[in-house]
């Protein structure tokens, strides 16, 4: 059964230095608040998994949280490069970052395999792609029935998966709707799961086949309204596209990035506090 906990407590108890951690959310419902809390608590040497490392991983990588990154597409969606991600890979700043690079088909399948208790994913992938030359974990196996060669890759089974969702009830059952990404699979693939939610409601009212994550597969539920911002939460708030664009400038130089992170994350106590400061500095930028 999920415990309803403050986010800082959940991160403190469940995410340890050196852990394998996935923060998932495909454009929608990205767990930014949780990423900030991991940075605030100074975690180090994490192996991070994420199909689409974007701003939240740029921030975590730039702050030296990650030792290794498993991913399939790293960019600022609709804007361009992730400067901190690039700086880490191109220049090893602030520390060297190992990467394990896969495709969306593979990595989403790897979460499915992890959720299914399997050690490997089986798919048709990478035919003719150089990715298979640089990732030694991409193997071929032969179908015993047809003789076809198929791709096998290791499944993903994080120590902790962190996602953001729209609603939980008081027992910690979670409801997600709209773009689901691989969140359910990432939760089921992990040993522990932290779910930040927009709100706790008296009663979930799911459609018959809705995406419900039962309380008993979740370790901690944390109420963090707006906790996906600057990404969006369908039914709650829109994507803050302006911030995605602004991030391109904020993150371009190491100094600007560090200054911003200090003021907005390290010197704030919570995501609520961060949002206040962000609103203030957004005024400065536009004025």
């Amino acid at each position: 059964m999920a415990e309803i906990l403050p986010l800082n407590k959940a991160v403190e108890e469940l995410i340890h230095d050196g852990a394998h951690v996935a923060l998932e959310g495909f454009t929608h419902l990205i767990p930014h608040a949780a990423g900030h809390e991991i940075i605030r608590q100074g975690r180090r040497n994490l192996t991070l998994y994420r199909m689409t490392p974007d701003l939240v991983y740029d921030q975590m990588i730039g702050m030296g949280v990650a030792r290794r990154l498993v991913f399939s597409w790293g960019g600022n969606p609709g804007v361009g490069s992730l400067h901190r991600f690039r700086d880490a890979i191109e220049n090893g700043w602030p520390c060297s970052l190992d990467i394990e690079e896969r495709s969306h088909a593979d990595l989403s399948g790897a979460y499915v395999a992890g959720a299914s208790g399997l050690p490997m994913t089986l798919l048709r992938a990478y035919r003719g792609s150089d990715l298979a030359r640089y990732n030694q974990q991409i193997r071929l196996i032969t179908c015993p029935f047809t003789g076809e060669e198929l791709t096998a890759t290791p499944s993903v089974r994080p120590d902790v998966t962190v996602i953001h969702a729209q609603q939980a009830d008081r027992k910690g059952n979670v409801l997600i709707w709209g773009i689901l990404g691989v969140q359910k699979e990432a939760v089921l693939a992990a040993k522990n799961a932290i779910v930040t939610v927009e709100e706790v409601v008296e009663r979930l009212d799911p459609a018959p086949n809705a995406c419900v994550l039962p309380s008993w597969i979740i370790t901690a539920v944390c109420v963090v309204p707006g906790g996906a911002s600057p990404s969006y939460a369908q039914g709650y708030y829109e994507r803050d596209n302006a911030f995605y664009k602004a991030w391109d400038n904020i993150s371009r130089s190491r100094e600007d990035f560090q200054g911003w992170m200090k003021r907005h994350v390290l010197e704030t106590d919570s995501f609520e506090d961060f949002q206040k400061i962000k609103a203030e500095t957004a005024q400065e930028v536009t004025s």
Binding site: T27, E90, R124, R127, D130
Partner: protein, 258 residues
Amino acid sequence: MTTQPYSADEIMTVSAARLLKNGAVCFVGIGLPSKAANLARLTHAPDVVLIYESGPIGAKPSVLPLSIGDGELSATADTTVSTAEIFTYWLQGGRVDIGFLGAAQIDRFANINTTVIGPYDKPKVRLPGAGGAPEIGASAKEVLIILRQSQKAFVDKIDFTTTIGHGEGYDHRVRLGLSTKGPTSVITDLGILTPDKDSRELTLTSIHPGVTLDQVRAATGWDLKIADRLEVTGAPNANELHVLRDLEARTAAAHKGD
């Protein structure tokens, strides 16, 4: 009838849109492919089925998405499934007619690099990476590629093959065990390139009105083959331009202040 003035980007988008048949099932990349696919849907191909890798199937966005997972896609879709399911049941399952991709770099055989400039282990420029492209390129029955033509993008040799087009040409796809067609057109702001029927080398088969061969050659990092019967792309018609500009205006208005 006089044609309206239009930009190079506009004829690129219109030319790409025209290649989508009504009813085709199209796996859409964000940016230029998404714009062209939606233009097709709003003009000659109302029943084109747009699938985005984030999960929406049959999306009918009224404004263009800025990200691959905008709420507008899910809200207008026939249904939204998990990202994993998109790649298993829908793409790998052989349900996609057209994979519609962009590219950072492309070579003469329409192989695509979206991974690195420079050596993989010590990149000069680290690009975003593969995303869904390698499997879209392999599993979609056919692939369209849309990107602006330049020496930087159209290179003699790509540093990294993220997504195979026609490999080293000829029957290379077949030798790799691929039974799909691969790239059938590359649509740029200067013209349309299609693979030679034997060598599969990209050949300029259509040039946009007012563009010179020298311009095209100057924007290509290899000695570009030109078709014997080079066509001139039909200019965008008034309706296409109207719908495209409307779509862009609606999109700008929706994201005003962003």
